[in-house]
């Protein structure tokens, strides 16, 4: 199909435009879900379409269609040209040097999705589901596998040609325990454990056996006291760190937010263009990278959706803000160097600045050393609630699991743990960064942003991290 699309694209390229491109995306997915030991109808999805983009005489326009015939592409090209004729644009787009790269990228795969039959995969989910029910206080539980496969082709009028192929597996186990007006959750969440690859991800993430563990922990939470309210040290597990990185480093550093594109919806940023190179974002222990090179991570790729090659880049080094998250367009608008992060959720949405993989690099503290260093604190894991202001400064996050740390030891489990703070000061209170043994590669499949709205897959990897003087509180 891709070669046919290529032939048709070259037939419909208009004369005398400054730039035009075609972005083809085909996505196949399948989701299997067993809830309370009953399999729900399997859901498969096959999506395919193209977006044509034209830059001409300073204007830019796009048109997206699922009609892949030559006439369909021709009509879309005509509409994109009409949009490009619109005046009063934010910049002269003709001055942007659009990439014209050639290359390819493919996910690394060990066990293909289809190496197990649908019956075997459902058996696996049934088996894990059966482990979740421990007693009548476990009121709901479900297990699921979500597989996705994408094929992308990006062509430019001057011969740029990029082919990329990705496969993802996103597993989930979710358990709810209840007693009266007390409900507690434990999840091995699809918002956390998605990776590139195939069924080997189940082994790598410890999926099997997780159901019973989560159910036991949910029951522990049900019997636990509320998290106390006080200012204390807080140690965050990787499955909460990803949210902290995402909301209070990732979004504020997206160049399109800093440029104001998102102010009507996703918001602006407390970060300004003059901060790059000098601003002390966090303590000297903080090192953050844009890293598309970890093959298993959710947003690893060779090129972004405007054809820019992706490479590992330090965003924050030893606490100092270095590089913004901005693709070709944002780099042209600001004069700053950025990264290859212009990405679109599908063929029917235009690329905008996104996070891709944004990771906190590992430090050298062991978990035991971190715990032993805490006089009074709390260990929190698994994000449950998240809220942050539109400048990405005042945040409040909640976790499923809390465990107090007293005089250097993990002690009482507590329920409903929350904490709040301000991004600009929170990262400067980073006291210890865990070593490789505490480091996990995780990912979030649902990052929302943009007008029109887009959801996209992003990756975050992090060790366990320790912060001082954080405002912690519990439930009602």
């Amino acid at each position: 199909m891709q070669n046919l699309i290529k032939q048709r694209f070259y037939k419909v390229i208009p004369h005398q435009v400054d730039f035009c491109s075609l972005r083809y995306l085909e996505e196949r997915s399948e989701k299997l879900l067993v809830r309370k030991n009953v399999a729900e109808p399997p859901l498969s999805r096959h999506d395919v379409g193209v977006m044509l983009t034209v830059i001409d005489k300073g204007g830019l326009g796009y048109a997206a269609t699922s009609d892949l015939s030559e006439s369909g592409l021709r009509e879309a090209m005509r509409r994109a040209q009409l949009w490009a004729k619109r005046e009063k644009t934010v910049i002269d787009f003709s001055k942007v040097a659009m990439p014209q790269e050639r290359g390819s990228y493919q996910s690394v795969l060990e066990k293909p999705w289809n190496s197990l039959s649908i019956a075997d995969k459902l058996d696996l989910l049934h088996s894990e589901s059966a482990q979740c029910y421990l007693n009548d206080k476990i009121v709901d539980w479900q297990t699921s596998l979500w597989f996705l496969q994408t094929e992308q082709l990006y062509l430019t009028h001057e011969g740029g040609e990029i082919r990329q192929s990705h496969q993802y597996l996103i597993p989930e186990i979710r358990v709810i325990a209840n007693q009266g007006v007390n409900t507690q959750y434990r999840t091995f969440s699809e918002s956390t454990y998605g990776r590139q690859g195939g069924l080997e991800i189940l082994d790598h993430t410890g999926f099997v056996g997780k159901g019973q563990q989560l159910a036991e922990e949910a029951l522990q939470l049900l019997a636990a006291p509320n998290c106390p309210s006080e200012c204390m040290d807080i140690m965050l597990a990787p499955d909460q760190m990803i949210l902290q990185i995402h909301e209070s480093i990732g979004h504020p550093l997206e160049l399109d937010r800093i440029l104001g594109d998102e102010r009507n919806y996703a918001g602006t940023s407390f970060v300004t263009l003059d901060m790059f190179g000098t601003y002390q974002y966090g303590s000297p222990l903080l090192n953050v990278t844009f890293d598309p090179t970890l093959p298993e991570q959710l947003a690893s790729y060779g090129f972004d959706d405007e054809g820019l090659p992706a490479e590992k880049t330090y965003i924050i080094r030893e606490g100092v803000l270095k590089t913004p998250l901005g693709g070709v367009m944002s780099q042209a608008r600001t004069g700053l160097s950025g990264v290859a992060n212009a990405r679109a959720m599908s063929w029917n949405r235009p690329p905008i600045d996104r996070m891709a993989n944004l990771n906190v690099e590992q430090g050298n503290s062991t978990l035991d050393e971190m715990i032993a260093s805490i006089e009074r604190g709390i260990f929190m894991k698994t994000n449950l609630s998240w809220s942050i202001d539109d400048s990405r400064n005042k945040f409040q996050f909640g976790c499923e699991w809390g465990q107090l740390i007293e005089k250097g030891e993990l002690t009482q489990v507590v329920k409903n743990p929350n904490y709040r703070g301000i991004s600009a000061t929170f990262w400067r209170n980073l006291k210890k960064v865990g070593n490789q043994e505490t480091f996990e590669v995780l990912g979030v499949p649902y990052c929302g942003k943009g007008e029109p709205n887009q959801i996209i897959r992003v990756g975050h990897a992090s060790p366990v991290c320790l912060f001082t003087d954080v405002d912690v509180f519990g439930g009602v």
Partner: protein, 439 residues
């Protein structure tokens, strides 16, 4: 589009074997999206998309497939036939689904929108805003939803609307947010909204006021209240969430004495909304479903699957059991008296990024955003620097609710994730005592 879908349904009728049944839903749109920043065009474009979802059912087994249609009948016949074959292969491996439930009585309906969209709203928008720091999106075009099944039911719903969702910025995070949505563009209405927003923008030029955390009397505009109801709609009103104890209304469900203020009557009002009155298993939604009546929990939204699982009747809810057409009954408080009654407090036009601090207690947090004002002695004094609140619903619309306004606003959802939303809400504003700010 309707003829195309029905012709495709006729083709699907012929694909069935033995005692198979199919259900299918079309969701399609022809949209124009024009994005603005600083009064100029940032990203303009068109999207034409058509998705078909097919449930293939044999006895008590079901499998679902979604595909993108091309719009060419020959190509789409091939795609649909291939999908049927793939679904049939999977059916062999499935066990009976005890909760499979779909409409077996035929209720065909038709609601056809008229295209009165303006040919050239964009020129007027650009000329009206280019001198200002204007940011937002203009979305317009046709939205089409169809249902068909092999029992002969056919349903169609089409609408053509526009939604201009924008903000005027003064500086940093100080802005006025507004929206103009409808089916027929009227210059006078648009210009009036521009004028009103620019007037509020003048207030934002004053030195901003910062408050210390604590309880304050507040006015929540209908738009701000909508943010609260949207959070509640996430697992709040569905039967599954209620039976699995995940509902944020858990305390109301488990504790009969726990209720909201008697002036709170909340309804899923399909008859007055803009969403289709049918759903993907072929059930027709009732005109109204009372969710909360005079402060007391009334009924849940029940999807066909939950109906079968819990042995109750469905009321045509979607799979997620979320409201699509919120209706909060008007109060008796005059909008003109808001500032006077607020006396000293906060006028909140918008809330943002709500989530739960303690879901079981329906305690929620979120931020003020856009034009939120500090009021003293019944006068707007200054814009307020953003604040985080943390408060329970049982205070906001319960013990601490002073009044709901007599006037209501009709809000058309601006959500465009995957497709343009057909959600809406008709809401009053709310005057609330001791609303807690924390950061």
């Amino acid at each position: 589009m309707q003829d195309y879908f029905y012709a495709l349904a006729d083709f699907m009728d012929k694909q069935l074997q033995d005692d198979e049944v199919y259900l299918c839903e079309l969701t399609a749109e022809q949209s124009e999206f024009v994005r603005f920043n600083q009064g100029h065009i940032r990203q303009p474009g068109s999207v034409e998309q058509r998705y078909l979802e097919i449930d293939l059912i044999k006895k008590q087994c079901c499998v679902t497939g979604q595909l993108a249609l091309s719009g060419s009948m020959h190509t789409d016949h091939e795609r649909v036939a291939t999908l049927f074959s793939e679904l049939r292969d999977k059916l062999q491996h499935l066990q009976d689904d005890p909760y499979l439930f779909y409409a077996t009585e035929v209720h065909s309906t038709e609601s056809i929108g008229t295209n009165q969209l303006p040919a050239e709203a964009l020129t007027e928008i650009v000329s009206s805003v280019q001198a200002h720091d204007f940011v937002g999106i203009y979305a317009s075009g046709g939205i089409f939803t169809g249902f068909a099944n092999s029992l002969g039911q056919r349903n169609w719903h089409s609408s053509y609307n526009f939604n201009l969702d924008w903000s005027f910025y003064h500086s940093k995070d100080k802005a006025v947010k507004s929206a103009y949505a409808g089916c027929h563009w009227e210059t006078l209405i648009f210009q009036d909204k521009i004028t009103q927003a620019l007037a509020q923008l003048e207030i934002l030029k004053r030195k901003p006021h910062t408050i210390t955390p604590g309880p304050y009397r507040v006015y929540l505009s209908p738009t701000a209240l909508y943010e609260i109801l949207q959070l509640l709609s996430w697992d709040g009103f569905g039967l599954k969430a209620q039976r699995t104890k995940a509902s944020a209304l858990l305390k109301m469900l488990e504790t009969p004495a726990q209720h909201l203020h008697s002036s709170v009557t909340l309804t899923e009002n399909t008859a007055q909304g803009i969403a289709p009155a049918f759903q993907s298993e072929g059930f027709i939604r009732p005109a109204q479903v009372p969710l909360i009546s005079q402060g007391v929990y009334d009924s849940a939204l029940v999807s066909p699957r939950s109906a079968k699982e819990y042995g109750v009747k469905t009321n045509g809810a979607n799979d997620e059991e979320t409201p699509l057409s919120f209706d909060l009954a008007a109060g008796d408080f005059q909008k003109a008296d808001i500032l006077k009654t607020l006396d000293t407090g906060i006028y909140i036009n918008n809330l943002w990024y709500l989530n739960y601090s303690d879901r079981a207690a329906c305690r929620m947090t979120g931020m003020t955003r856009f034009a939120t004002f500090w009021v003293e002695k019944g006068e707007i004094v200054a814009p307020l620097n953003v604040m985080r609140f943390d408060e329970t619903l049982y205070n906001i619309l319960g013990d601490k609710l002073i009044a709901l306004t007599k006037e209501r606003e009709f809000i058309i959802e601006t959500d465009t994730y995957e497709k343009r939303s057909t959600g809406s809400a008709r809401l009053p504003g709310a005057l609330v005592e001791d609303f807690s700010f924390t950061l």
